[in-house]
């Protein structure tokens, strides 16, 4: 078995282990045999209801959101040729969140929140990539700074709208820090459909992604319509980000950490990096969410706090390494 295939198999195993840990952990103690039994034979017992109605949707949502954010991060890193790109850091998640909030306020009765989130996400990516594509080139760090400023502005606008209209600090808190509490089966289905579309779409374009990560001029010479490819990728990444943000608010750094670890393990060929990053992002967020809901004496904290505390230092290390490579620009 080749090295990338071995890593792929191990990533799949890691996801299975994370799923079990996530289902097993919670305020109501459950033994492994009870867990297995209630998974195989759903019934009306309390444990079965806890597993099927509370833990399973939540753990699956964590996996799907983690996979979605990892996929978006992988795409942005190749598209922007920027190792620091992440949907949270470059403002895509905030764009989705603002779009979702606007929809919520304008059409409160309609289930169009993900549509608003999608429009907001795509608009924010477009703004960030436009900044990255100025003639003469822009440094990796500048793009991140512009993206971060964008994300702060969009986040503040969202908070302002919510304060004015909803006056509900709990909701703002949820959006800003991200949380998977109260996720229901319909949202899990939405997340699964969006991630499936995203994975198949990016897999279809995996060699284009390899080519464009080398250079846009090279990609053009190979027969790629670079402008069309950019739109296809922005739409796919925007879709998965929008649905993830609609379900769970702003969760940072998963899209940064998972693709990096994946490329470190299997190299930058996207046909390997894609599945490893998605599986890794899924495991990472399940474990982060399990930590978030197991804090002693408090019970539950927003999962975004956990991913930020774990991913933030990672980001700083990458940032320092990148600026050193760029000669301190």
């Amino acid at each position: 078995m080749t090295h990338p295939r071995r890593v792929l198999l191990l990533s799949a195993l890691a996801l299975v282990v994370s799923l079990v840990v996530g289902l097993w952990t919670g305020p109501t103690p459950v033994s492994l045999s009870q867990l297995t039994w209630s998974l195989v034979h759903p019934n009306q017992s309390l444990i079965s209801v806890i597993i099927w109605q509370i833990r399973l949707p939540r753990v699956l949502a964590a996996a799907l959101v983690g996979g979605s954010l990892a996929l978006a991060g992988l795409v942005f890193q190749a598209l922007l040729k920027n190792p620091l790109a992440d949907p949270y850091l470059i403002g895509t998640s905030s764009g989705a969140s603002l779009g979702a909030t606007l929809m919520l306020l304008l059409f409160p009765a309609m289930a169009v929140i993900p549509v608003g989130a999608f429009i907001g996400a795509v608009a924010a990516v477009f703004a960030a990539t436009a900044a990255a594509r100025r003639r003469g080139g822009t440094s990796v760090v500048t793009v991140i700074l512009v993206g971060y400023a964008l994300s702060v502005i969009l986040g503040a606008t969202t908070a302002l709208l919510l304060t004015l209209h909803a006056n509900d600090l709990q909701t703002i808190f949820f959006w800003e820090l991200g949380g998977l509490g109260g996720v229901l089966w319909p949202q899990v289905t939405e997340l699964a459909v969006a991630l499936a579309v995203g994975v198949v779409g990016v897999l279809y374009l995996h060699r284009e992604l390899d080519a464009v990560a080398i250079g846009e001029e090279e990609a053009h010479a190979l027969g790629i319509d670079v402008r069309r490819l950019r739109w296809q990728l922005i739409i796919l990444a925007g879709l998965v980000t929008a649905v993830a943000v609609s379900a769970s608010g702003l969760i940072g750094f998963v899209g940064l950490v998972a693709p990096h670890v994946a490329r470190r393990l299997v190299g930058s060929l996207h046909r390997y990096a894609l599945p490893v990053a998605v599986l890794g992002g899924a495991s990472f967020l399940i474990l982060a969410d399990t930590i978030a809901r197991s804090v002693p004496n408090i019970g539950e904290i927003p999962v975004g706090i956990v991913t930020a505390l774990l991913g933030g230092p990672f980001f700083i290390v990458l940032l320092l390494r990148t600026t050193r490579l760029e000669g301190g620009r």
């Binding site: 001029e217 090279e218 010479a221 046909r271």
Partner: protein, 262 residues
């Protein structure tokens, strides 16, 4: 036989004309070396020929059709460009890099990894690897290659495309004299087998030794085009590059030699 031609081609960059009113016709089966000082517009000309840049006025015609009007897949089977090498290096294995040359020919099932590359694609990749002499390096990551090996690997990508027209921006850059010579011999062989090869170059002596024709440009304008002995004359070289170079007849009776002087 289709030709690659430009008609009154102009392109400005930040309001400065980089290619000015150029009309040239390039025939397949020849190695054309484009020479001229830094900023003469060589790279821009190649990018216009490849369809990457849109002309501000004039046209680039490939077999009579504007190159930018072709569908990207169709264009890539006609013409390809190897741009100047950037500093950034990726870790793709050489054979995967070369496989990108077959990108536009993949089926849906191949794109989704449900079936392997076709025999035709695989043999084109193998031919390209051996023509560029990188067969031994097939499994090595690009990042670990030396400068000369990287240049050959990038050439192999273009060869795998099997495009009729091969454009190269400074193929001899970063190469020692021996490797530069091997590279040029490979390009000359491609021209001999019927491809049209256009290479922007800085090494005038090397260009003259291998090119069938040379095109000298300065400040975006065509200065001279023709056989190396017609283009590399003392007066023209001194006019374009300054007075510190002299052109000598080759003692072996071949193409002219450009010598620096103190």
């Amino acid at each position: 036989m289709s030709v690659l031609e430009t008609r009154r081609l102009s392109f400005a960059y930040h309001r400065r004309l980089v290619v000015a009113d150029m009309s040239i016709t390039i025939h397949p089966g020849q190695l054309l070396a484009v020479v001229g000082p830094n900023g003469a517009g060589k790279s821009t000309l190649l990018r216009l020929l490849s369809g990457w840049f849109e002309p501000d006025s004039g046209q680039v015609l490939l077999g009579g059709a504007p190159v930018r009007s072709l569908r990207p897949q169709e264009r890539a089977r006609q013409v390809t460009l190897v741009p100047q090498m950037s500093e950034a290096a990726h870790d793709m294995p050489v054979e995967e890099l070369v496989a990108l040359g077959r990108l536009t020919r993949l089926s849906l099932r191949q794109r989704l990894l449900l079936s392997p590359l076709s025999a035709a694609d695989q043999s084109a990749i193998d031919r390209a690897l051996s023509a560029a002499d990188v067969g031994e390096l097939a499994k090595r990551p690009f990042r670990e290659l030396s400068g000369g090996e990287r240049s050959r690997a990038r050439l192999a990508v273009a060869l795998a495309q099997e495009a009729r027209w091969l454009l190269l921006d400074e193929p001899e850059a970063h190469l020692d004299p021996g490797h530069a010579q091997t590279m040029m011999a490979c390009l000359a062989a491609q021209a001999e087998s019927g491809h049209g090869v256009v290479a922007a170059m800085h090494d005038l002596t090397l260009a003259a030794a291998f090119a069938d024709r040379m095109l000298l440009m300065d400040q975006g304008r065509l200065v001279a085009v023709g056989e190396p002995s017609q283009v590399l004359t003392g007066p023209l070289v001194q006019q374009v590059y300054g007075g510190q170079l002299s052109v000598m007849a080759n003692p072996d009776g071949g193409a002219p030699v450009v010598l620096p002087r103190r």
